[in-house]
Symmetry: D2
Subunit: 449 residues, 4 copies
Amino acid sequence: MKLVPHRVLPWRGLVQPPSRAFSSTTKRALIKPISELPDRITPTYQQRPSNTLLALEWPSPPRNILITKKKRTPGITASLVEYTTHLASTYPSINIIVEPESAAEIHEQLAFPVYTYSTPSPNSDPPHLSDKTDLVCTLGGDGTILRASSLFSHAATVPPILSFAMGTIGFLGEWKFREYKKAFREVYMSGASDAYAKLEFPESEPDSAPAPRTCPEDPLDKPLSYADIRGKAMGSTRTARILLRNRLRVGVFGPDGQRLNSAASSGDTYALNEVILHRGSSPHLKIIDVFVGGRFLTEAVADGMIISSPTGSTAYSLSSGGSIVHPLVPSLCLTPICPRSLSFRPLVLPAETPITLRLGDKNRGRDVEVSIDGKRISEGIGEGMEVRVVGEQVRSAAKEWCGGVPSIVRGLSGTEADEEDHWVGGLNALLKFNYPFGDQDAEGGHRWA
Amino acid sequence: MKLVPHRVLPWRGLVQPPSRAFSSTTKRALIKPISELPDRITPTYQQRPSNTLLALEWPSPPRNILITKKKRTPGITASLVEYTTHLASTYPSINIIVEPESAAEIHEQLAFPVYTYSTPSPNSDPPHLSDKTDLVCTLGGDGTILRASSLFSHAATVPPILSFAMGTIGFLGEWKFREYKKAFREVYMSGASDAYAKLEFPESEPDSAPAPRTCPEDPLDKPLSYADIRGKAMGSTRTARILLRNRLRVGVFGPDGQRLNSAASSGDTYALNEVILHRGSSPHLKIIDVFVGGRFLTEAVADGMIISSPTGSTAYSLSSGGSIVHPLVPSLCLTPICPRSLSFRPLVLPAETPITLRLGDKNRGRDVEVSIDGKRISEGIGEGMEVRVVGEQVRSAAKEWCGGVPSIVRGLSGTEADEEDHWVGGLNALLKFNYPFGDQDAEGGHRWA
Amino acid sequence: MKLVPHRVLPWRGLVQPPSRAFSSTTKRALIKPISELPDRITPTYQQRPSNTLLALEWPSPPRNILITKKKRTPGITASLVEYTTHLASTYPSINIIVEPESAAEIHEQLAFPVYTYSTPSPNSDPPHLSDKTDLVCTLGGDGTILRASSLFSHAATVPPILSFAMGTIGFLGEWKFREYKKAFREVYMSGASDAYAKLEFPESEPDSAPAPRTCPEDPLDKPLSYADIRGKAMGSTRTARILLRNRLRVGVFGPDGQRLNSAASSGDTYALNEVILHRGSSPHLKIIDVFVGGRFLTEAVADGMIISSPTGSTAYSLSSGGSIVHPLVPSLCLTPICPRSLSFRPLVLPAETPITLRLGDKNRGRDVEVSIDGKRISEGIGEGMEVRVVGEQVRSAAKEWCGGVPSIVRGLSGTEADEEDHWVGGLNALLKFNYPFGDQDAEGGHRWA
Amino acid sequence: MKLVPHRVLPWRGLVQPPSRAFSSTTKRALIKPISELPDRITPTYQQRPSNTLLALEWPSPPRNILITKKKRTPGITASLVEYTTHLASTYPSINIIVEPESAAEIHEQLAFPVYTYSTPSPNSDPPHLSDKTDLVCTLGGDGTILRASSLFSHAATVPPILSFAMGTIGFLGEWKFREYKKAFREVYMSGASDAYAKLEFPESEPDSAPAPRTCPEDPLDKPLSYADIRGKAMGSTRTARILLRNRLRVGVFGPDGQRLNSAASSGDTYALNEVILHRGSSPHLKIIDVFVGGRFLTEAVADGMIISSPTGSTAYSLSSGGSIVHPLVPSLCLTPICPRSLSFRPLVLPAETPITLRLGDKNRGRDVEVSIDGKRISEGIGEGMEVRVVGEQVRSAAKEWCGGVPSIVRGLSGTEADEEDHWVGGLNALLKFNYPFGDQDAEGGHRWA
Ligand SMILES: NC(=O)C1=CN([C@@H]2O[C@H](COP(=O)(O)OP(=O)(O)OC[C@H]3O[C@@H](n4cnc5c(N)ncnc54)[C@H](O)[C@@H]3O)[C@@H](O)[C@H]2O)C=CC1
Ligand SMILES: NC(=O)C1=CN([C@@H]2O[C@H](COP(=O)(O)OP(=O)(O)OC[C@H]3O[C@@H](n4cnc5c(N)ncnc54)[C@H](O)[C@@H]3O)[C@@H](O)[C@H]2O)C=CC1
Ligand SMILES: NC(=O)C1=CN([C@@H]2O[C@H](COP(=O)(O)OP(=O)(O)OC[C@H]3O[C@@H](n4cnc5c(N)ncnc54)[C@H](O)[C@@H]3O)[C@@H](O)[C@H]2O)C=CC1
Ligand SMILES: NC(=O)C1=CN([C@@H]2O[C@H](COP(=O)(O)OP(=O)(O)OC[C@H]3O[C@@H](n4cnc5c(N)ncnc54)[C@H](O)[C@@H]3O)[C@@H](O)[C@H]2O)C=CC1
């Protein structure tokens, strides 16, 4: 059988071969625009009765992989190079997308081109990114995942996110970096076997394979072949597991009713954790009118207010006294920050209830903070501002799962019954939920002497 | 048109006419068994896209009305007499069911018979009650509603509940007693108009109408006629509104795996608010193993644990530091009571997640308290006991609403957009949610001097 | 008896008579420097066994009265004019000090001179103010009292503060403005009767009395005479009552150990409520090392930390989840603001324990907020900053009461046993402490329909 | 020098010599009444300016040592035997007192007599115990310390308590059992050196020394001699450190004003942690009127109310949401248990403020629980009951320290500056105060898979 890679991935035909012909210095210089990439492949998510996690199913294998990394953390760049090199050598049909800063930083160390995008205007997503990205991988902690998800903050459909912790595991992540080969392979292979039927593999011509392989004797480093496919893609029982995290749809409006949180045309912003309205650098209380389902609920006199998704219930909302809400409870949390009231208890509302926070004219000063997922999105507007929020719908009218942030979680390590464990495990391991009293950690003869 | 009441309500033919022939003294003595009543009429609940409340729809008008009242509260008996008298005179085809104590207390004051049931054995529902009751009315507060709902605590389908506050309105109730005529009429008329087509009305023979009418000139006191039907039953826009309150399904098991909370055959008990496991009269901490979704979550060292429905989130769970959860968020709240831990925050879990509390063998003493909706259900069992809970399903596989406690709430007082207000209103009015600081209540010159 | 006002108040001799000779337009223009005033008279505070409030005792009647008012509130200026006019006409030996803005605003409306001070350099007290002020009166709310107290934030001894609420009573205030005549008279007369022996009164020469009297028939508007003295100053049972509010002594230091919170020489700043360290306008968590009694207690990852006095326990600390601490419990409260921990419970520590907050080098950004009593005191310093706090000593070695903010509270309205009520009353009236549930406020037929 | 033990300890002369003459079987049988012991020696507590801990000072060495142990814990009996044997052999002038059960259990294993008391009538202290006990040692956890302190719950002066943890260290304890020799020696030697001047030591006649020595080569096992004294008792810098824990004085009264908590004559009961009033085994809310300083504060509708000492602030009060209060803050904590109110925040009140809880006539049922330090003290009384509490005075009019529970804490392990560490250390080690988030405990590749 003849190998015709350019039929399957015609854009690669145009791009890759010349790059290979380049001298090594030239090769390194290659940063390409994502607009040249083939269009995005969108997976479906299947629910099985016995399980609250969804099964990832690619119609055909993912090709365009966005990889983001934690900023200002030296060691991570080497991991990014290692990871991209592994993907490029093992999955020849894959294209690597990185953020502009990363592209500049690493492309000279790579033997293949990387794709990137131009920096977006404020409050909008990078152009083309959501049309081209099949899968997102993050190297970092929760902040990196939040930043990755914010690259799709105006997109109705977010690609699945596979996140690797570089140090301690965060609450949104699941995988240790050292698991990257196996984890990626599982995600890549998650599809009905016929999805892979048309996939064509490079013939084993040693010279055509990309040169620097991280560990040639590791089977996970060998280019994928039919043998793998036959063994792996066996339907939904072996596919990657998805926790679909509902987002919030947020609109921020000035006193004149004009949108503040996004470039004119792009509409609402999606938040993974929460949106907050806060006194910011003013040392005085803010007075915020809260409307629930279109009706006035209360006047909050407080440092601020949080509207969080269930995912965000373990973030800022938790610090402010909110309950811990399981990510699969379709709800919004309304949590005050330091309310000047003894009787303002956090509320958990139906996801479909619209909530509005309005900064009335009793407030002096303009330095209010509005932040989405830890990113400040507005400045210089105070009095009259409104934040309008509603939970994202994650099932279409036809009851298909869509929207949300599809987070790839552990699912294959044990039996099916073991799959639901993650969130509960995270409570104990990460949040130190109900951590027991006593001196059990003390060793040696003295407790603290 | 000929009136044939016994065709529609054959059992009335047997019962009512003789009673009418009785002398007034004899009449009063009539207490009949509910087994004689016609079978229950079960309404359906329609959801409209614009509205989270459901619309009540009777296939044919309700006939068997259970009325419960608060205990140990003198004035309420007079109200019960007034209410039953109104119903009997205005809706001649209606049958009144009351609790055994009430029957004994009031039947002599009535010109018509009342139905009642025999006291059930412990931990089971009154026999026949759930097969015969079309509608429940309560006169009292939240405790009375809880007690009414507990009469159906082994029934998968609870009749709609219309509750009248006798003093201050509670959190579960909605209606003032003085609204009873209008409220009942609305509920009674909630049905597609053809439901009433077959209904036959008494001819206006003044002598056949029951004698003592509370206020004859009030149109709501006149026996219902076609005129009313034509004007009222106009489809779902004018029907009574239902808040379907999910319950918990609770099983309590001894160390030997034997059920403790219900008579052998009757299976799980349904709770409207919550189930609690508590140290009871022992002055020492209990050690409770908590399992979520079949997995060990944590060992709670505490006074006790609460598993509550969203409805119950404003009851005991709130007092124990839980969040306020809207009754339409499909969830369970897991709230510790005085946990011996700084880090045991309340959890909100998906309604379909099974939760188990197990009293391990580290506990001394047997005097543990297990209570459902404020009613103690077990005694003398400690170590090894298990409480197993899961949220009730309120939609059938065919997506029909069923189960839950269908609570009749205000819905017709304003425009459709006004209908959702109740819960939010209750937060402010009843819970004094976020009650503002300051001396606004102080009048006159001195605050507290 | 000859009137020799200049003997008692020699400085008035120089000042007042000329002013009286001025034409009325000229008179109004008089704003004088406080440096011209006689030196401050410092009262003592007596404790009686039966009572936790102290008794105010002037060695001789107060002369220099500082009056501050709420800013940006139109109606209050008229009250200030009314109040100063009353004092000037009724207590001829009294001198009125006002803030510079107030002086400019009102002096033209007055028939007597006012004293004022020059605006101080940042982080220092107005020059001379604490050497000249015998008594402070505030017209406004808690914010006005805090601002008044902050005028003495580098002074070891604060004059007694008499505060009038202009609208709703705050938590730190006690008196309604309409009580001003009686309240001031009580304070003025609080002294051993011999304190007043040397006081000389203006002869009742009608023409020498200042012209515009607010209400001439009111005995409290008549110039004070021996008759009043004889009747009033009867020792400690009839004296004004003082709640001595402990302050915090706060030092803020840069990474180089240099003081940031006060002009070079002036040392620590006193806080009445609290000092806070906060993330300010940065949307990210701060990492704060907390030392108690010189030892490392914990690393707080939070929005910020509060160290409050017992007085401040009902201010920001309360909003952040702190307990309510009675102002007479000698303690400091350490309360985190939105801590990223499930197990950071507020602490109440002995007043004499030094506490240090240090912003370690894990923090990015410099925009940290340090505020004392709601006033931001530092900018542009982040990493390495330290806030050092210790409770103020309010008893000297000789067990005399000194320091603190002597707040004049109700004490004479009833019997001695009634005197302690204020704080408890404030909990209920102002904080809505344990405000009861239920619809008791609802009137009319409907709760919220 | 002639040994005249009977001069110093005349009662020993009567008792000990005969016992030595006994055959070993006879000896073992000796259990003696504490009434035969010499009178109690009461130490003083010295405060030094630099230190909040007090220095223990015996006027003469302690002689009568009460040792209590945890119940129902098999291994502990062996430790008790080891400990008493060590004391008896090393400090020949010491007398061992144990609880009646322990006496019965261990006396046969000992070569010396033990003293004990008869079981007291309910709600009173064991007769003579507080007149005879110089020092208390506990082997167990916090519960054992609470029980030991409750043996003196009607005594104004509690002997110092030296507590040894047998497993994990509790919050009230300080010492590991393996430190017992050193810890006891320090306590024994804490006194001005002249206190020991009159002490006479047994001559080193090997045969007169008690036989079974735990470890003869250990210098701490050798009978104390002048050499030790000269080296050790060097004034307050080397003495044991005392944390004087304030107690509560509690009176429980029936509706008729009659005391319920103690035998007629014995008056108030002292609590180390707290007194609680609780719904007990009734599943319904209690309605409790709370009075502070003689005035009505609020009506608590709750599971119950806690009034705790600062020591008790980390016990039940903490579980109920109270703040953590340092044991040296002179205060009382008023903490509700599951209050039916959003706005009932815990209060910290001055220690000298009397607080009363009254169970009004709105309460049904009689099964209310009143517990002191985890011991239920009343039964069968409901409606009309009152609990009256005030903080114990720990300084006499002459400013001497007295009262409280003198707890022996670490003080000699480091420099003086190190002495204050204990409580802060306990927060971190025992309460897991502000325990950090993250997966720092996870080892290996997977967090929870
Ligand atoms: N006082 C607080 O608790 C504050 C919390 N935040 C949170 O930080 C988020 C932004 O994260 P970064 O940019 O990394 O800011 P950051 O550097 O301030 O760190 C936020 C922390 O929150 C954790 N986190 C984020 N999302 C979480 C989630 N869903 N569940 C549990 N833990 C979560 C992260 O692991 C990290 O420890 C915001 O969305 C907000 O939720 C932001 C400011 C203050
Ligand atoms: N500390 C607490 O808060 C306690 C609460 N309870 C609650 O009482 C319920 C039993 O009620 P009763 O027999 O009347 O006992 P009860 O006489 O002890 O009164 C319970 C109170 O809770 C209110 N309540 C009941 N259900 C509610 C809900 N869903 N939302 C808001 N408020 C609600 C009632 O209006 C009443 O004020 C239990 O289901 C439990 O939730 C029971 C014991 C202690
Ligand atoms: N989230 C919160 O609760 C915040 C509270 N504050 C507090 O505001 C104080 C400054 O006051 P303003 O300049 O008027 O600021 P502001 O205009 O922000 O109002 C502060 C509020 O706190 C009240 N308050 C002040 N001291 C109090 C006390 N000791 N006990 C009870 N209530 C008290 C005032 O009556 C006012 O309602 C600060 O000392 C701080 O305690 C400041 C910022 C946020
Ligand atoms: N929900 C709760 O937190 C409850 C707490 N208790 C507490 O238990 C005490 C009685 O102790 P036990 O007889 O051993 O009962 P227990 O067997 O119920 O254990 C009480 C727990 O509290 C700890 N504890 C006791 N005093 C403490 C203190 N001052 N600070 C920190 N931890 C402390 C003990 O180490 C033990 O872990 C009572 O005084 C009460 O404070 C009692 C019942 C319920």
